[in-house]
Amino acid sequence: MTSSSAHSRKALSKIACNRLQKELVEWQVNPPAGFKHKVTDNLQRWIIEVNGAPGTIYANETYQLQVDFPEHYPMEAPQVIFIPPAPLHPHIYSNGHICLDILYDSWSPAMTVSSICISILSMLSSATVKQRPTDNDRYVKNCQNGRSPKETRWWFHDDKV
């Protein structure tokens, strides 16, 4: 899930590289509320700190998101996971994989890291109970070979949380 996949990944295309540099500049000027980008020299992997929104069940909790960009970003979706320990949430697996449509089938090149972050925070904020998905153990076991969440065929049916 972490290092092995990173090494086999293809480098960013020129257009992806330019785009990410612009996104990073925009982030620095105008970061989404509740998020902090941890400065590294790796443009292809962003580590982002998430603070649970005040007044929600994740208030005062901090988590880390790992965002890996593919060669043809933004035509292809980035891979976004929580670095364990991941928040206890009905759509977040204990290995950090997130079941959120915009990260997979509904990804659009019109989106940005910032808009992904806002969607993830909104998903966290609307949860009322801290619990894992019902199929957590089975899913995590199936991912033991380091499978990316982008290879999972997700089934999105709950639009409330």
Partner: protein, 376 residues
């Protein structure tokens, strides 16, 4: 929230229409969808290899037609009409029921081989369409005859959900290449600038769309010959070059996405106008519709998309419908609809130039897919 356990991404899912076999084995119930499926059955093996934009077909390719006939005859004889389909649409090997299945596979392989071999100059007229529908409804065959009288050729596009935008892209750029209509290019550039402002006013940050915009503008410059830019980019820009570019994913997909941005911007800008149409399609809000059905790549286009794109860019589009809709008694006619840009968008026309009214882009719609048609 659930993952389909253990299911590795189905790489085939984009490439072919999924076909419920049981529904197709009764010829009496053969409907439009089945006709599309039959076509995809023959071409499914090739699905991944079909270029974004195909060759323009003018003459009959007898070999392919022959192979199609052969396949059809064999499947009929076998009784189990579409075992071919299940074979080409799953990752699992089809159990070899009998010798005929083997023979069909062999026939497909030969067909594919022939297609690849003929790739350079493979040409077919609309009669090629007729061959595809040989087993289908007589109404369709009649309609194809009517089309054959009005249209000279067809150019296929890949059925990946972007076919409307891809057909539009190729058809528009080809028109500019052939007409060298500088006034039209200046006009559309004005509209593109409007679209840019629309997106900005809707809250899009420039970097999210500027790469897509500049790539489209670059293509426009390239097809206008004699222009300094076109000399710099490509001194001998020809139709072959346009085809190459349309098949180059890094160009083609960016231009498709440019159109998706433009379409989404137009729908959201005039949300009161589009809302009733969108409610007729889904019960999503305008915003949700754009996020889920316009902006992601691979989402198919409907009337709403075509109207919005045509209005935003001020380009009229004719869509010819090849379906089984009933015809007037005493003669078969093929329905078409002209999407004409609304007058609201003519206001920015500079120097008294007007939006052309007669569409120079003609697309053939068959249930679920758009291709390009060439009038005679």
């Amino acid at each position: 929230m659930q993952n389909q356990d253990g299911a590795v991404a189905d790489r085939e899912k984009e490439s072919a229409v999924s076909i419920p076999i049981s529904e197709v084995d009764d010829w009496a119930n053969f409907a439009d969808d089945d006709i599309m499926q039959q076509q995809s059955a023959i071409h499914a093996e090739e699905a991944k290899k079909i270029p974004f934009v195909g060759d323009k077909y003018l003459l009959c390719c007898n070999l392919t037609v022959l192979a199609s006939y052969l396949l059809y005859a064999v499947t009929l004889f076998q009784g189990n009409s579409l075992s071919v389909v299940s074979l080409s649409n799953t990752n699992y090997p089809m159990p070899m029921k009998n010798g005929w299945t083997v023979f069909i596979i062999f026939a497909i392989l030969i067909t594919c081989g022939i297609e690849k071999f003929c790739y350079m100059e493979l040409q077919e007229p609309l009669s090629m369409l007729a061959a595809e529908y040989e087993s289908g409804s007589p109404i369709l065959l009649e309609k194809i005859k009517v089309l054959d009288q009005q249209y000279a050729a067809i150019r296929r596009t890949r059925g990946d959900g972007n076919c409307f935008f891809r057909s539009f892209m190729f058809s528009y750029l080809e028109h500019i290449l052939e007409s060298q209509d500088r006034a039209e290019v200046d006009r559309i550039k004005g509209n593109v600038e409007e679209c840019r402002k629309t997106l900005q006013s809707l809250g899009h940050t420039d970097f999210t769309f500027e790469d897509f915009f500049s790539l489209f503008l670059e293509q426009l410059e390239c097809v206008l010959q004699g222009n300094e830019d076109s000399i710099r980019f490509s001194p001998f820009f020809s139709q072959d070059e346009l085809i190459l570019r349309s098949r180059d994913q890094s160009i083609s997909d960016y231009v498709v996405m440019f159109f998706r941005f433009v379409t989404s911007g137009e729908i959201r800008k005039r949300s009161e106008f589009f809302e009733p149409f969108i409610l007729g399609l889904t019960n999503a809000t305008v915003e949700q519709f754009c996020k889920s059905s316009v902006e992601p790549m691979g989402e198919e286009s409907d009337h709403v998309h075509i109207t919005a794109l045509s209005d935003a860019l001020g380009v009229p589009i004719r869509v010819v419908y090849l379906d089984r809709s009933s015809c007037d008694i005493g003669g078969v006619s093929v329905n078409h609809h002209d999407f004409l840009p609304t007058s609201a968008n003519k206001s920015n026309a500079k120097g008294g130039s007007t939006v052309p009214v007669k569409p120079f882009i003609t697309l053939l719609y068959r249930p679920g897919h758009y291709d390009i048609l060439y009038p005679k």
